[in-house]
Subunit: 245 residues, 2 copies
């Protein structure tokens, strides 16, 4: 499964393998120590940061491409993935950053190089288990790291807008679908879920109301009590009801 760097580079740079002018960008959310985080790549030998992304192979579904990017960056499969918007403005096409990246990495090109053309990008957001993900930079990047959603470095092109729109979608969905199952460990307390929701929404929630709403949803199942070591009553532990029976 190991490929030499040359082969990786050759494949990555071979535009004929991909749908031209089309890319996927992934906003990969993780949650750790009460902070909502996303994965951000840094291009080698430059100061450009970007969202993990990739191109769509000629014989590959757009969703598959996003899943592939996710697997390559995190080592995880079967990830919660949601297409939320397609970014198709002309002014998002700015070849200068990519030129710098290619120059800085000794990639030969002319002005018509396929990677310098206008791209329309399909935005996906993913929810992953922070502790299971193993971020790995791609061939063009020197790092792929978690950043607090409130402390993301300046991103290339319109990637800040993409993050903003992803977060908006996530916030709209947090009340409807059950987000926690993707971002928390298998077992969690009611406090864990509430803190997660508060972090995502950026606001405090009523404790008792939240507690009851979650219980009434019928999605949770108590499996015992947790010894927190804290000087207070031990909270119940829950799993998602669908996990069992």
């Amino acid at each position: 499964m190991q490929k030499s760097e040359e082969i990786v580079a050759e494949e990555a740079l071979d535009g004929s393998r991909f749908m031209p002018g089309l890319s996927v960008d992934c906003v990969i959310f993780g949650y750790h120590e009460r902070e909502l985080k996303i994965l951000v790549s840094k291009f080698k030998n430059t100061s450009y940061y970007s969202l993990p992304g990739g191109f769509i192979k000629r014989n590959e579904d757009a969703d598959e491409a996003a899943h592939r990017v996710l697997f390559e960056r995190t080592g995880l499969r079967d990830i919660y993935l949601n297409q939320f918007y397609t970014f198709g403005n002309t002014h998002r096409a700015n070849p200068e950053p990519m030129k710098s990246v290619m120059l800085a990495n000794g990639i030969e090109f002319n002005g018509n190089h396929w990677m310098l053309q206008r791209f329309i990008s399909i935005g996906y957001y993913a929810l992953v288990n922070y502790t299971r993900a193993e971020p790995k930079p791609d061939f063009f990047s020197e790092s792929c790291l978690w950043y607090d959603i409130d402390d993301v470095p300046k991103l290339m092109q319109d990637h800040r807008l993409i993050v903003k729109k992803a977060l908006e979608t996530l916030r709209n969905n947090v009340n409807r679908k059950f987000i926690g199952v993707n971002l928390l460990q298998d077992q969690f307390t009611m406090g864990d879920i509430q803190k997660l929701h508060e972090t995502i929404l950026g606001e405090k929630l009523n404790r008792t109301g939240f507690h009851r709403k979650m219980l009434n949803s019928g999605l949770l199942k108590r499996i015992g009590k947790k010894k927190t070591g804290g000087s207070h009553r031990a909270p119940y532990l829950y799993v998602f009801h669908s996990d069992e029976e």
Copy 2:
């Protein structure tokens, strides 16, 4: 502003003007006589029906392309338009229908013709005033007509799925945004709005509850009474509050 058919055909068939492998498809909703309708095109000399769609010019925003398609099909500008999903599966690419269309219309092509390649399509839905729209077929089509949403002919490729997803999105939005302003006349009764919502949602709504909810929204303004000619009390007429003052 009139162009000869030859020039229109030449431009429409010149793939170099467009983003390759990318299209927009529009689900154009109208409302008339208690029926929700969409515009459907029929290709010349074939029995293929499709959604109004088009390609994205190299120097054109995706949204602009959708607005252009809308204007060309309806003669309307400043239309409510909403991007709702991008369809990027490989198996949606089936060149056979398009081959038939080109054959039936005397368009020369080889197997590599750009219109026969795989396309990824950005889906938009639009809400237009039925009485103001003037549906016009494009160069490839012999008709562009309104069809009841429950009585749409068999559509090409995955266009049925696109309609389904557009309708789902519209149904999700009907309670949040105020859809009526785009689909009704300037003046309308409470019954008009309720019937519109019932048609979109496909279910009966509580009359008094709906009435009050609408009034409480603060979006409506009474402007007088309507003589319906019916043997019953004359209903109030409303306009959208933002229209005045």
